[in-house]
Symmetry: C2
Subunit: 208 residues, 2 copies
């Protein structure tokens, strides 16, 4: 099991994402392998983009004039470009508190499994068009991995798990996170799945 608590470890890549972000889904499929190629571990940090957009006065991409229509097309094309399956969800964007809280609860017990769980949640939404804003769906995804759905269902309702998500989102804003996916390594920030080539060059060259 990889340690996920040593935030002071400069060699780790921090990876912030919202479960309702299509570009975050694409990044989630790539980042662990990319990092492993350069002997780095990744700290996954689900956050709530809605809370961040309140601070930055931003609006969900698909609600913007012209850009919204383009974005839906770009989600699918970017997925094809990266060789990944993609279905535009019927319900979008959608609340992701339950999914994010479930992630943090599992992360505190088993980081590697939590990464698998996060990818399974992303695929449930962006490949199988399942409504992961529904706790029953989150539990079903967990159960399909052999996790105990009742324990998870109880855990995500606990005040400390709710506070964890809020604190992680607040901490992300303090680190300059304004969108998702967002990466930080060696004090350098990278925003967007389209910055993975730059992030990879950064890791390969020790900064450029």
């Amino acid at each position: 099991m990889l340690a996920d608590t040593d935030a002071a470890n400069n060699s780790a890549i921090e990876f912030w994402f919202d479960f309702s972000s299509p570009y975050s889904y694409l990044a989630a499929e790539k980042i662990d392998a990319l990092a492993a190629n350069h002997q780095r571990i990744v700290h996954w940090r689900p956050i709530l983009l809605g809370a961040i957009f309140q601070v930055t006065n931003a609006v969900p991409l698909v609600q913007l004039p012209l850009k919204g229509d383009y974005s839906v097309r770009d989600f699918a094309r970017s997925a094809r470009f990266l060789g990944l399956p993609f279905t535009m969800p019927a319900k979008f964007p959608l609340p992701t508190q339950q999914a994010a809280r479930a992630y943090y609860w599992l992360c505190d017990h088993d980081v590697a499994r939590a990464h698998d769980f996060a990818r399974a949640l992303f695929r449930a939404l962006f490949v199988h068009d399942r409504d992961i804003s529904d706790l029953a769906v989150v539990c079903d995804v967990a159960a399909s991995m052999g996790l105990d759905a009742d324990t998870l269902s109880f855990a995500v309702a606990q005040p400390e798990v709710k506070a964890r998500l809020k604190n992680e989102t607040d901490a992300a804003i303090l680190k300059g996170v304004f969108g998702a996916p967002f990466f930080r390594v060696d004090d350098e920030s990278f925003w967007g799945v389209d910055r993975l080539p730059q992030l990879e060059q950064w890791l390969a060259t020790g900064g450029f």
Copy 2:
């Protein structure tokens, strides 16, 4: 001389940009060679992002909370990633009407030279930190290429040249252009210098 007037020619790449857009500068350094590798020509179309942002209710990148600071860093890093020189201009963003009008005037006489002129204007701003909102600077860049500065200075003040820029900007909005650089080929749109790899794959494979 390449024809630049056959808008119905599906094989051409349309390239919209604003002279005050750093990512447009980076794209301008790459697009002609990329297109030539795939036997395509490029129709360069300077536009006014300010007019487009009024329609789409958008704000210049550098004025956005958090995203603004990141962007300035990303401009320079993206330039290094692409192997291009970059200096953040002291005056930024800045009006680009004069530069854009001068481009269209020259474009109607000599397309190939107009592309060189556009690249020279971009480098004046983003490499040598010259204030290209000043017509005298635009004329000086033109003169350094052997163009007649007096003729250009007279031309950009003519109503038909002013109308041309307005019409091109209006036409861009009708085609869904909401930012810069923006590309369109075979009815497919690509936004951002970071979409050049997808554009190149599109050209190489005939769509994907």
